[in-house]
Symmetry: C2
Subunit: 392 residues, 2 copies
């Protein structure tokens, strides 16, 4: 048995981790735009990166290093260092070189505009402002924001049956799930659990599939998406089941926070697809729903337009039929295997559900036992405004 | 040698075809909402339908009949007769039964709201208003519109070297490429060419892939999408190459008209992808571009944001790299194999291109000889308005 307790401290909760944000003048309004995470001892690393074939320079640089341990991550916002070619990778080496006296195998991570070289001198000057003894996780979380309207942090303490315990903390930024010119999904997780890199990587892969990869704001995939998990093992404690559950809680929370803060989003909608032929088909159907423009605009209009749900599932290519499909908005069934329940009374009840900030749409395909849960948001005028006008 | 001449007459140009639209009271404003196409002799049929597994009752009914010839198509707008189960198919049989004295194996086609039974009595009464001697193609084209802002028609006469000739005419409706609750893509093509059903079907499949299936307003696929091609052979003339070219001209024109009239669209954008590993990969990349929310909102904002183009191609999963990619807005190159040309001068030129109503974005992946051309539109406030508010 174990206990998972939510607490404060973000990426600095785990023993031996430090973090802070500074202002290096990348954001024109003087807001914080560079953050670091430092560990007083070396960390093993697990990572997940974008599948985009135009992966940004920080990702190319990280992958080129092969297997290594680190005690330092440098993050900048406002410039993604993406599609900047070899020069973008050289810029990273030059920047990290200036830190080589203090830290070991530093990692760089970036988010912001694509196709523009990093302002190297500003970043080097910014890095000189870092005070590695600072534990300011909230300041770090603020510094990595782009179009995010709030920072995203969580910290958990895991208490094991033998009295030992370990900690996991995280910060993330999202905004457009992927708006490749302004935003990106970045997530940094720190832990003092005594977990090996291999074990962490396995758990991280599994958890990413069910959390960040189940979340969609606009269905695009950025050049910079990054999840980094650093373990310095200082607690000496570990339990795989507890670690897996705590990591899932953290990443599930952050994925939902990112969608909730999606560009222009006013609603967080969960799509629980069940009864698919298998889990893979459930995932296809659930993601088709969370990505459909017609579904997203109906959500924004608070219109319980179940026909768009049915049609989107039908168009997704998974096994389904109108004779076996069931659709509910929370506990309000609107369509049940050929029976259309959609009279004025049901419509009123379904409309009430849709006026909530967050709710679940259940969709049972009646074909098998496959299931998947995806998170999405609505698409309203603000999304168009942010994405059409962002450079002006 | 042959000559293709654009002319008037829509679906009534081909010899022996008649058409008209009537008002049956389905549209609350009294606009025309039912159309027919009648041929004085029986027609062979080629058809393409939606791949949506929730295909609407008219499609289920058509497919259940196996191979047949017809001389009559009845089309209604405002109600899609989709996801209405066996009852929806029975409704069609009841309606068509009332026409059985006058016409042979009539076909029904519907577009409009999903999940509502057809107003059978109104449609039967509407069908009694049809005058089969009328040649009013424009009235028919108007009657099948939903959120379309203009009707879509074209007619071609094909003059062969031996002095013989045949005609092809068509009408279509689009709006949301697929807005499953209000719109659908329907296209009806009539010809007096002496072409066999098998040959027509082959040519129709090939042409559909390069025209309607290359067009996207919102990336969804309706429950009702239908292309019907009817040939009564009355001209006695035929030439396969000329027929293929004329059909391509017709469907290419209508596909572009549909995108130009996409819900809320202000721009018609052509994506010419070349240099892909093969044609299939070029198609994936081109369609990813025409479907990307981030690209579509940048178009609306007239922002020559080439980073979104590059990132979308990278995310589409096709073979590509920043070292071999080239991007141009018409003749303005913005990115060339690692060279970012995007200074203020180029940005100004690219912005001018984007202010046009229609333009082409060229994207060469530098991987092989695969190519594909897709059509798309921008996504602006009107799209959100139409789709969020449409039932209120």
């Amino acid at each position: 048995m174990y206990k998972i307790v939510q607490t404060q401290g973000g990426v600095c909760l785990a023993d031996g981790f430090f973090a802070d944000g500074v202002s290096a003048g990348l954001k024109p309004n003087g807001a914080k735009d560079m953050a670091f995470i430092y560990s007083e001892s070396l960390c093993e690393i697990a990572s997940v990166f974008t599948t985009n074939k135009m992966a940004a320079a920080p990702i190319i640089h990280f992958k080129s290093k092969g297997s290594f341990e680190t005690n330092f991550v440098l993050v900048n916002s406002k410039n993604a260092n993406a599609i900047t070619g070899d020069a973008g990778v050289e810029d990273i080496k030059d920047i990290l070189q200036t830190l080589s006296q203090e830290v070991h195998h530093p990692i760089m991570s970036s988010t912001g505009v694509i196709g523009v070289r990093l302002p190297k001198e500003k970043i080097i000057a910014g890095a000189k402002l870092f005070d590695l003894s600072k534990k300011e996780p909230h300041s770090a979380a603020k510094a990595i924001m782009t179009t995010d309207t709030f920072s995203k942090e969580i910290a958990l303490r895991v208490e094991l049956a033998d009295g030992s315990s370990f900690n996991i903390g995280a910060m993330a930024k999202g905004a457009g799930m992927i708006n490749p010119a302004m935003a990106t999904m970045l997530c940094f997780i720190t832990t003092d659990a005594d977990v090996s890199a291999n074990e962490m990587q396995k758990i991280l892969n599994d958890t990413t599939a069910k959390t960040f990869n189940a979340a969609s704001v606009d269905g695009d995939t950025s050049t910079n998406d990054t999840v980094l998990l650093l373990a310095n093992k200082k607690s000496g404690a570990y339990n795989a089941t507890a670690f897996h559950e705590a990591l899932h809680t953290i990443m599930h929370f952050l994925a939902r926070e990112m969608v909730r803060d999606g560009e222009g989003a006013t609603k967080l909608v969960t799509y629980e697809v069940s009864g698919a032929k298998d889990d893979a088909e459930a995932e296809v159907a659930a993601k088709a729903l969370s990505d459909s423009l017609l579904v997203k605009t109906a959500l924004y209009g608070e219109d319980p337009n179940w026909g768009r749900i049915a049609s989107t599932v039908g168009a997704s290519g998974v096994a389904c039929s109108q004779e076996s499909l069931q659709i509910s908005f929370e506990d309000v069934c609107v369509y049940d295997k050929g029976n259309i329940y959609f009279d004025a009374d049901i419509e009123a009840k379904a409309s009430l559900v849709m006026q909530r900030d967050a709710f679940t749409i259940f969709c049972d395909l009646g074909q098998g036992k496959g299931k998947f849960t995806a998170f999405g948001c609505d698409l309203g005028h603000e999304y168009v405004k942010i994405n059409a006008d962002y450079r002006t």
